[in-house]
């Protein structure tokens, strides 16, 4: 296991932002103006216009609309992920890398940006991203899942009851010792020393 560097331990803040653009990383190249992100707030600014469209298209392939279930963007997935990037520079970097890589793969393979691809082509591009850049794809996928399944509207559809701890808990059948009747008859089963 690689030792964490001091910078990794510092993690958030200016150091990470500067490091992110000290070299022409995909995240920096992805910036529409080519400028360095100024901390997390600037990451959010990256996701304007075409970039937001790209994010929306990607997350709706990861969690698509199906039967009664909405697509990720229909329950605020784009906005949720933008907020995540504001809070977490490392995640922001991974997500931007995923999106820029996805766009590049789409161009290389189909000669079109991801948003312009057909459904099948989008799946192909995302699958290639998953294979080639599993860490950044995993960050994108997990963020989509997180944003989707934190929504009360989705909870209703999957039958999840949240039970916040300032309210009542679930009704659970009390313990009945009868359930132990069989094992309780067994002889002692430990080594006496």
């Amino acid at each position: 296991m690689k030792k964490l560097s001091r910078r990794q331990l510092i993690g958030t803040g200016v150091a990470a932002s500067i490091a992110m653009c000290a070299a022409p990383t995909p995240a920096c190249l992805f910036s529409p103006g080519g400028g360095a992100p100024k901390g997390l707030g600037s990451v959010r600014q990256l996701l304007h216009g075409p970039q937001r469209d790209l994010l929306r298209a990607a997350i709706d392939e990861i969690v698509p609309a199906q039967d009664a279930m909405p697509a990720a963007s229909q329950v605020g997935g784009v906005e949720y992920i933008e907020q995540l990037t504001v809070r977490d520079t490392k995640l922001a970097s991974q997500l931007l890398e995923a999106l820029s890589h996805l766009e590049r793969l789409s161009q290389e393979r189909f000669g079109l940006g991801f948003v312009g691809l057909s459904g099948g082509q989008r799946i192909t591009a995302l699958s290639e991203l998953e294979g080639r850049s599993s860490e950044s794809f995993g960050a994108l996928r997990d963020s989509v899942y997180e944003g989707y399944y934190e929504q009360p509207s989705v909870w209703k559809l999957i039958g999840y009851e949240f039970y916040p701890t300032d309210g009542e808990g679930p009704k659970v059948r009390p313990f009945d010792s009868q359930i132990l009747s069989e094992v309780a008859k067994k002889p002692a089963f430990y080594r006496g020393v």
């Binding site: 964490l4 929504q151 916040p164 701890t165």
Partner: protein, 524 residues
């Protein structure tokens, strides 16, 4: 007397010594965690869980970095009043008698210098002080006193796997958990919200901040929070003199004491000892054996999940453990490994955790198959943990990181760990038997994860023994090298057993307090 660390060990030592009449000061680098700070009332509670366990992710002012080597990925702990009991699951099993005689019985690891019988009365006291739910009568363990409160509800999940155990004829029992099922000691009964590991805002989970500490403070103990100890100081005779610590403003102080007890967990304790160098102890305090930091153990662990047609609603109910089986606890050489493992029947978290991969860490498919997979999995799962005995190995260790420091300039802890062959064979067997169990319980699909490479049970790094050349503390947790220094927490463990350590940590701490008090003429 000075106690360093306010977790399950430090709190128990402090309370016991205070009850006996000692003047005790406890230094804790963390602070009180107010229940209102727990995110268990918020929709994002599951994502908060991801950062709550790890000091390197939280990066709170009171945290110190823990770097890793070998195959270890991360170390979990909390730095707060109550220590890691704030976030533990609160499963509260005891060691078995054989755990104290592993060398004699099985020819591996080490014998403890104490027996189960020496600790048994302290287990009982600790159970009463903490507040435990459970039921006596378990044939897998020696008889024990009536549990302070009855068992927590099993839920559909527990009732289902109980049928599997019985079908296979395996031993099992409802688990002891440090979560009270009835009103106890002024604390309310658990309401089954299922968010225990974030910290219990209603106080039903028996973390040390709501059990030992209120009582110890009422008796006159002094708890000084946001006080980070840099080193233990020694006097001109090589005894401990006290501790130098930083307050929250970075100012240095020295606290003098006639006796010092270190209870900073299996990582923090060796870190502090190794950082306390002097002309008497050039390789770290109490380290003439070279064993400080060595023999780090964390349990060999892997998980399975059974997927069932009917709903299990595993997110409803206290965490702890639902039930457990010690069918494969003891050595049977026909299995190809020594010692054994415990099955813990666990609960699930919510839908985010399930989508991320659940207890086995395999994310749900994305795209067109996602919703179907979620429908099959979410709330239809029984998680099962294989937790095996981790044999001590001197190469698995805690040391000072030469390159990384905490915010006060104290070297970080570096933990180096690799699973041994015995662990891998044990886990392979456990996963195969776990699959049998889940299928016998009616699972339509069973998945399993890989051997875990994160540490939450931190043990063995200042171990107990009779031989001063091979251990750090004696049978009363007194340092072999320093007569007025005591060390008690998971670091004192000579072996790991295959059960969660907190109950044994508390019992050892109470016994240590009695040992200190019994020799009080030596310190006065």
């Amino acid at each position: 007397m000075l106690v360093i660390g306010s977790g399950p060990a430090g709190s128990a030592v402090t309370k016991r010594l205070t009850d006996l009449g000692a003047k005790v000061v406890c230094l804790e680098q963390g602070d009180w965690v107010r229940p209102g700070k727990y995110p268990s009332e918020r929709a994002n509670w599951e994502t908060e869980l991801r950062r709550y366990f790890y000091p390197n992710v939280r990066r709170l002012p009171e945290d110190y970095p823990v770097t890793t080597g070998g195959e270890l990925r991360a170390v979990q702990m909390a730095n707060a009043v109550g220590g890691t009991s704030i976030h533990y699951t609160a499963h509260f099993p005891r060691f078995r008698p054989s755990d104290f005689r592993v060398r004699s019985l099985d020819g591996v690891a080490a014998d403890w210098p104490i027996r189960y019988q020496d600790l048994e009365p302290y287990y009982d006291v600790n159970d009463r002080e903490m507040g435990v739910s459970g039921l006596n009568g378990d044939p897998q363990n020696p008889p024990r006193s009536p549990r302070p409160t009855p068992p927590l509800p099993l839920g559909v999940l527990g009732e289902t796997i109980a049928r599997g155990f019985d079908k296979l004829g395996w031993y099992w029992w409802v688990a002891d958990n440090a979560i009270v099922s009835h009103i106890y000691d002024g604390r309310p009964a658990c309401m089954s919200h299922g968010k225990c590991t974030l910290g219990c805002p209603i106080g039903s989970k028996s973390s040390a901040d709501v059990t030992y500490w209120p009582k110890a403070l009422r008796k006159g103990a002094v708890l000084r929070t946001r006080s980070r100890v840099r080193e233990i100081t020694v006097n001109s005779e090589g005894g401990v003199r006290g501790a130098i610590y930083y307050d929250q403003n970075g100012q240095l102080h020295e606290q003098l004491a006639s006796v010092v007890v270190i209870s900073c967990n299996g990582v923090g304790t060796p870190r502090l000892l190794l950082n306390s160098k002097s002309k008497f102890f050039p390789h770290g305090l109490a380290n003439s054996s070279g064993m400080v930091g060595r023999n780090f153990m964390m349990h060999a662990t892997a998980s399975l999940e059974g997927i069932f047609d009917q709903r299990m609603n595993g997110y409803e109910g206290a965490r702890g453990a639902v039930a457990f089986s010690q069918q494969f606890y003891e050595t049977d050489l026909n299995r190809g490994f020594v010692r054994g493992y415990t099955f813990q029947v666990a609960r699930t978290y919510g839908p985010v955790h399930e989508a991320w991969g659940g207890i086995v860490g395999a994310p749900l498919p994305w795209g067109g198959r996602h919703h179907e997979a979620m429908r099959k999995r979410f709330a239809h799962v029984i998680p099962l943990i294989v937790q095996g005995e981790d044999l001590p190995d001197e190469n698995n260790r805690v040391e000072l990181d030469p390159d990384v420091e905490d915010s006060n300039g104290i070297p970080a802890a570096r933990v180096v760990y690799r699973n041994g062959d015995n662990n891998r064979k044990l886990i392979e067997h456990g996963l195969a038997m776990g699959r049998n169990l889940l299928e016998a319980s009616g699972a339509v699909e069973v998945r399993n994860g890989a051997i875990v490479v994160e540490a939450s049970h931190l043990m063995g790094t200042a171990r107990m023994g009779d031989d001063a050349r091979r251990s750090v503390v004696d049978a009363w947790n007194r340092a072999h090298d320093v007569k007025n220094l005591f060390i008690v927490d998971g670091s004192s463990f000579a072996t790991s057993s295959s059960v969660n350590p907190t109950s044994t940590i508390g019992a050892l701490a109470l016994r240590t307090a009695d040992g200190i008090w019994g020799r009080r003429h030596e310190w006065s």
